[in-house]
Amino acid sequence: MRVLSKLMLAAAMLAGTVAGANAQDKTPVKLGAIEILTGPNSRYGIAIQRGFDLALADINKAGGVLGGRPLALAYEDSAGAKEQALNAARKLIGRDRVPLILGPTLSNEMFAAGPVANERKVPIVGTSTTANGITAIGPYVFRTAMPEADVIPVTLKTAQSKFGIKRVAVMYGNDDAFTKSAYDVMKATLEKLGIQVLTTETFGSKDTDFSAQLTKIKGLNPDAIVLSALVEAASGIALQARQLGIDPKVFIIGGNGLNSPKLGEIAGASADGTIVGSPWFIGKKDPANQAFVTAFREKYGDSPDQFAAQAYDTLFIVAKAIDAAGAPDSEKIKDALIKVKHTGVMGPFSFSESRDPADTSGVVVLTMKGGKFQLLE
């Protein structure tokens, strides 16, 4: 009973503190960020948080926004759950009164939180939400993440022109919105490029045994395996494909889920030859990217991934929009965002009419060699 009464007290205290106090000069401009900071998918959210924090330090060192006001971020954890992302969005808008929200991490969460932000006319900017239909939620929903629909065609076209693939087997995780939506793009692109699909096999995102599907694929003798999976499943597939004796020349063409250093760490040499498209690559030679990678390694003792890079750029884009808007006002920021032009670690960036990234020139095709991704030459 004591626990209960304490909870009641905590609830009452929470209810009592309704945030007020509008910002004056030199007071920080506080933005909200909803990311997965706990639970099994937290590595995505934490990478994004690190990207934001690094950008935040850079921006504030350079004088902040709106002529000297520091930028601040209020993080809310969604734990990867749709309801919690929704609650977090409502809290940030209703209580913290943030003029803009960054995140959430997953497309599923955006489908829940996006409509709420849109209803209250607060811009919400996804940095890692790549599924179809995200920005169709409404005019206040933006994303800086390159949608699968832009990246996958580049990957497949490159594979066709470089390796002359003609017949492929397709595998995808059919119980996950992210991998299913990437598969839809793959299917359409393969059809357009005139590549023959020998078979389409499915699996569950938590499966660990893929031998049935791979044995069938081995018998069909394809030129390549087109794969839409999260990195854990993808590593398992790469390992088992080689164990079953599928020729190492039959390489894997992956969706965005495979674009993670984890693939090489888990699958090792079995993943060699895998090619993926990526909006960003750690080894890009331009000075902005080199500086970002060095600073990230210095601060966190770990290499950044694409999620950190996208987050890093996004905060600069948002800061530019706030400066252009002249006030931390949702409506003005929304109008300014669509006009922002920024050249960051991912290359040139601007929003299209539909609030997606307009420029796909930053997309690079990577290939795995010795457990590490490098640019496909």
Partner: protein, 279 residues
């Protein structure tokens, strides 16, 4: 003042909805547990209700009342069909059979392209809301309290304590079990439909095994002595993650700790008391 209240309500709207919906789900598991059965199919029935209601509203534009009625009827009908063979099982065997049912439902939704497949169903119009949710919860709660106070309630309790003895005393066991399963499925379906119409998006993975266990835990934490207990359990378990938000990284740990402590020290639930009898 009014503005503040309005903002407060808006901020916590999803949470307020969640407490109500989970309360109805807790009552749905209570009905099964009250006759001494253990079902882990509540999440599946909730999913069937959510999809039935949402599909009707989105694809056919039916009025909310019709969607609600169908969302209660379809899971109840499924329960009636699968109840025949599965209710011969008791205890863990029934639990395992209902887990199977849940998996089948999930896989059907995953592969059913008309209902969005793995991408789920988005753009469900907002209907019902707080009034419909808490109205339903109140009606169901009062009805179940009345049942618990009646002759039927006594028979249910007798079944829970000792099924053989209850049977010998003339309680029609199969009929009670079947009624309990059908009623609980209908309730879960209604809860699913209500939540689908306030969250604008549903996906097949929301109604899996984890949800089934969460629903069961409402009744475990609250207790099943009276219908009020599981509703309280649901309210606490729904509020906890949000109340603990300031703890940041330790949130899930503390959340789990509180539940473990509660179950250890209050094994019969937070509200173990029984409803006074009449008749």
């Amino acid at each position: 003042m009014w503005q503040t209240l309005d903002d407060f309500y808006w901020t916590y709207q999803s949470l307020i909805h969640g407490i109500g919906v989970n309360g109805i789900l807790a009552l749905s598991i209570y009905v099964v547990l009250a006759v001494g059965q253990l079902s882990l199919g509540q999440a599946a029935f909730m999913g069937v209700g959510a999809y039935t209601g949402a599909l009707l509203t989105v694809k056919f534009g039916t009025p909310f009342a019709v969607s609600m009625a169908a969302a209660a009827a379809v899971p109840a009908l499924i329960a009636l069909v699968v109840g025949g063979p599965t209710l011969r099982l008791t205890g863990v065997y029934l639990a395992i059979a209902t887990i199977g049912l849940g998996e089948i439902t999930r896989i059907v939704f995953l592969n059913w392209d008309y209902a969005g497949g793995a991408l789920g169903l988005s753009g469900i119009p907002e209907k019902g809301g707080v009034l419909a949710i808490y109205g339903t919860l109140a009606v169901v709660l009062i009805a179940l309290i009345l049942v618990a106070r009646s002759r039927i309630g006594r028979a249910m309790e007798a079944m829970r304590e000792d099924e053989a003895a209850a049977g010998v005393m003339g309680v029609n066991l199969p009929r009670y079990r079947m009624t309990a399963l059908v009623v609980s499925s209908g309730l879960a379906g209604i809860a699913g439909c209500l939540s689908a119409h306030v969250s604008s998006f549903i996906g097949p993975n929301e109604y899996g095994f984890e949800t089934a266990v969460t629903i069961l835990s409402y009744a475990l934490l609250g207790g099943i002595g009276s219908p009020v207990a599981p509703v309280l359990g649901a309210a606490i378990l729904t509020l906890l993650p949000e109340v603990l938000r300031p703890l940041a990284d330790f949130r899930l740990m503390v959340n789990g700790l509180i539940i473990v402590v509660a179950v250890l020290f209050m094994p019969r639930g937070i509200l173990p008391w029984r409803i006074a009898r009449t008749g």
